[in-house]
Each structure stands twice: as C-alpha cells, then as structure tokens.
C-alpha cells in the first residue's frame, strides 16, 4: 500500500514536470491541442452524414449510434491521454535506445514511462468528444434506474481499461522490431474506429476480432444493451453485457504479462 502511495506521488511529480516542459512552448502547445481536438470531433461528421442518408445502422438510429461514438471515443481518448500517448513516446525511445534510462531508475518502469511521457496535449481530444456521449444519453429513450445510472461509470472504466490494454500490447511491438508505429496504430486507432459501430453489422471475422485480438466489442457495444431495452441481434444474453466491462481485467493482466516479457527483450542500441 505504501508503495502505491509513493508511486502515485512520483507519478504526479513526473506529470507535473511534463506539463511544465510542454508549457515552455505555450502558444504552439495550445494550438496543437486545439487543432487535435477539432480533428477528433470532426470524425462525427462522417457518422452524422451516414445516419442522415441511411436512417439506421443495423437497427440503431441516430442517438444510439451517437452514443456508441461518444462513449467509445471518450473512453478511447481518455486511455490515449493517460496511457496511449506515453506508450507511443516510449516505443520511440525503445527504438532510439533512450529507454535505457527508465531501466536504471529504482522505480516501476511503467510508472516512470506513463508519468514522464504523459501526453497532456491529448486531454483536449478527450474533452472534445465527451459532449457527444452526454447529448446522446439525454436523447435516448432510456428507462433510467439507479442500476443503469451506476452502470455508466462502470462501463466507462471498463472501456478505458480495455483500450489501455490494447495500447500497452501494441506499444510492446517496438521491443521486437523497429518501425512498428503503423502496425500499433492499426490495432489502437483501428480498434477505436471499429468500436464506433455496432458489432452486429460487421462480417463474421471482424466480429471475432472485436472480442479477441482487438477486444473493442467489450468496451461500449456489448455493455450498451444494459441501457437499451432491446435484445442483442446476435443473441448475446443480457448477463454477458452486464459483466462485459470486466473484460478489462483479463486483458489488463495479459497486457501486464506482455509488458514484463517485453522488458526482458529490450535490446537497447549501441552507443
């Protein structure tokens, strides 16, 4: 327990140092945050256009689709800000050998990586997509109960956890091979795009991928049936939807194992 508190304090200090560093170039920093936020939110334009043309997607109308987009993007961008951005920078350091320094410090490597390379600029992207989830929720004809209200944060935390696990595992690719950024992005950003659409409209093999290799089906799609009074078109029982945010636990543990294994395979670079 003491360890956790000490680590948390150190994490906070490292994040503070990162933000102070970012603020050295204040104007450029804010411009980047703003432009990234705009680009992120503009992804909804495509979805809105699609819905206005076809009316429904797999039986889902405008607000369920908007909710799926808003909720999954919020969780994804949150995970990106706190985990993904750091992991991306860390992969770069693995390639250049600068990663050495994390291994010579008496600190959990993940704590120092996540803290030191915290991507504060990506918090803006998270803020840009949250309103979509909120507005969709207010328009959806949900029969609100206390359980359903409490389910929303549960679902959010689970989705953040699953996306984080995907970030960590894809980032670990850099330990084995250089130039893996594109492959990693295919899993992370590609996965996030899949998460924005109902899984039941996809072909079989994509459905299988969405609950295995890139388990984005567990993030928002499956849990959302707890809020809606409609049965799952794929025949997935309600109890699976209820516990699907917990999928973050096995995927998180798997990510931890992969990360630890990867550290032992760090090759550094000649100097």
């Amino acid at each position: 327990m003491v360890e956790v508190v000490v680590s948390a304090r150190l994490y906070r200090r490292l994040v503070g140092a990162r933000i102070r560093s970012d603020f050295t170039y204040r104007a450029s920093f804010f411009l980047r945050v703003l432009s990234a936020a705009l680009v992120t939110a503009s992804a909804y334009v495509a979805i809105a256009a699609l819905i206005s043309k076809v009316g429904t997607l797999g039986g889902w109308g405008r607000w369920p689709i908007t909710f799926l987009y808003g909720m999954s993007s919020s969780a994804f961008r949150f995970a990106d800000a706190f985990i993904g951005g750091s992991i991306e920078r860390c992969s770069e350091q693995v390639r250049t050998g600068k990663f050495d320094k994390f291994l010579t410090r008496p600190v959990n490597v993940l704590v120092s990586v996540l803290g030191e390379d915290f991507a504060f600029r990506r918090v803006g992207q998270f803020i840009a997509v949250v309103p979509f989830a909120v507005v969709a929720l207010s328009h959806l004809p949900i029969h609100w109960t206390l359980g359903r209200v409490l389910f929303i944060p549960f679902m959010f935390v689970g989705a953040v956890g699953t996306f984080s696990a995907i970030f960590v595992v894809s980032g670990c690719l850099a330990f084995w091979s250089p130039n893996t950024t594109e492959i990693a992005n295919a899993f992370t950003y590609g996965g996030a795009t899949v998460a924005e659409y109902p899984v039941h409209i996809m072909t079989n093999w994509v459905r299988v991928l969405a609950v295995s290799v890139v388990p984005v089906g567990f993030t928002v799609y499956l849990p959302s049936f707890v809020l809606f009074d409609a049965p799952n078109p794929l025949g997935v029982p309600l109890w699976v939807s209820l516990i699907s945010p917990l999928a973050a636990i096995p995927f998180g543990l798997l990510a931890r194992t992969v990360w630890r294994y990867a550290l032992r395979h760090y090759r550094s670079t000649g100097s």
Binding site: V6, R9, L10, R13, L14, A17, R20, S21, T24, G97, K98, D100, K101, L103, T104, R105, P106, V107, N108, S112, R264, H265, Y266, R267, S268, G270, S271
Partner: protein
Amino acid sequence: MTDVIVTNDLSKTFVVRRKTGVLRRERVEVAAVCGVNVHVAPGEMVGFIGPNGAGKSTTIKMLSGVLQPSGGNARVLGLTPLDDRVKLARRIGVVFGQRSQLWWDLPLADSFSLLRHMYRVSAADHRDTLTWLSDLLELGPLMSVAVRQLSLGQRMRGELAAALLHRPELVFLDEPTIGLDVVSKHAVREALEQLNRDQGTTVILTTHDLKDIERLCERVVIIDHGRVIIDGPLAAVVERLDSTRILVVDLDKVYPAMQLDGVECQRVEGSRQWLGFDGTKRSATDVLGALAAVADVRDISLEEPDIDAIVRRIYAGG
C-alpha cells in the same frame, strides 16, 4: 571484502535479420559479448577499453540491469542485475554519455529534485549531497538554467551529478568524456578521482580517450570481439605489450647512428639520437654506460611508450 562485481561467462547474443533478397531475410545471431569473466573489488577504478562494437557498452548494460544476459551470469553488489533491478538501481549510478537522463526543457535543479524523489533521498541528505556535488562540479550558476541551454560539458557535469545524488556505491560511466573539450574533461576526471578517493566509490568506465585511463584507472580491461583480451594494472599491460623504451640523447657533436649491442637507433637529428631498447633486457643506465664509452653525452631523457599507439596496435591486430 566480497567483490562488487563478479561475472561468470557473461554473454549476450543479438538476433539480427539481414536482408538477403527483396523479401527474403536471414536470421543471424551476432555475439556481442562472449564469456566475459571479470571480478571487481570495492573501491577499484576500472577502465574498459576496446574498439567500437567490441562489447563494452553491452557488458555495462548487462551489469546495470538494462539488458538481460543471454548466457552466463553476473552478480553486482550481491544482486542479479535484471531480476533485482529496483534494488540494484538504488545502489548504483549510471551515466551513459550519449543519453541524457535530465529533463531537457526544465532547469537543472528540477531534474535533481525529481531524481531525489525517485531515489527516495531525504531532504537533509539531498541538501548535503547537492552542496558537495555543486562544489565539486561547479554547478552553482547552472542550477536555474534549462538543460537544453547547457553546453555539452556543462550538461555532462549535470549528468554526473544526477548519477551521484543518491550516493551510489558503484558507478558505471559509458564514455563520460565523449565530445568534451579539454577543460570539461579535466573537470569530469577530477570529480571521478575525488569520488573514488574520498568516498571509496567503485568506478567502472568505458572510454576511447586513453588519457582518462592514464589519469584515473589503476586497472584496465581491454575488450575486443566480445572477449576480455587483457585485464590488469595499466603499467603491466603496457609492459607486456610494449617493453620498448626510448632513450633520447644529446651528444657533443653529430655522430652517425649509434651501433650498440641490443640497441636500435631509431632516429638521428643533428647531434640528437633516439635509441630504442628492450626495457626487460637492459636498463637505461646500462645503455647509457655503453654509449658513454663511444661519445660524450650532454643531456638525456627517457620516453615512456605511447599508450595510444599500443592500443591502436591491439585494435588493429584484433
């Protein structure tokens, strides 16, 4: 006292994929370090030298917990480097000359403060150590300067201080003087010398600058192709590799090249001659005596072998 470092056939192989065709690739194992056995006693100052790619840095990285050995084992301060990574990191200091561990955009003082929290050094101890290091490395006026604005020499002094803030028992330095000017090199050497003398810190360093070794290290380990080819006191290494001594003599007038038994005249310049002889077979007085019989000697000096030249020969010879 038990040894600070003990390695037993320490090895590291890297798998490299080589392109052999448009799409075809070959998997090749490259041995970077093969079977290194080194013992280092507390308080020693050991210099690792060897050509680029000889395996010096790889060895240091295995000893400091960065790389997992692929064969053999190492014990450092009684710990197994990567398995006891956190415990070991608390007790060692590491400077990789080509990598910075400072926070680029922040004042130097901020880096020190962050490191204090990482190493969990109490505020009082930190203040004392920082005062000491700041005097030793003349960091006072640099504390409030952003690291990116420091010169290479200033930054390297900062790196050194960063690695010593938690008063490590053992310090690894991978090319600490690379790219530094004479003044900065001198400052770094001075600091390392003091650290070793006053604190008894064990120091392991790699370098291409033999002045570092001459100035600092009693013992030198020469690594080539991943193997230790020579390990011993600097003087003995030099003796073993090149026992030629050169006696430079100023004679009373111009003589032809001297013909003396066991002496080779290497150069003649007016009345000055360079006489080479094997230091293990004859003494300088002996040679001088023989010379005095045939010429009048005005002045003499003895040239020590050039360590640079010796190492060049080792590298070239493989």
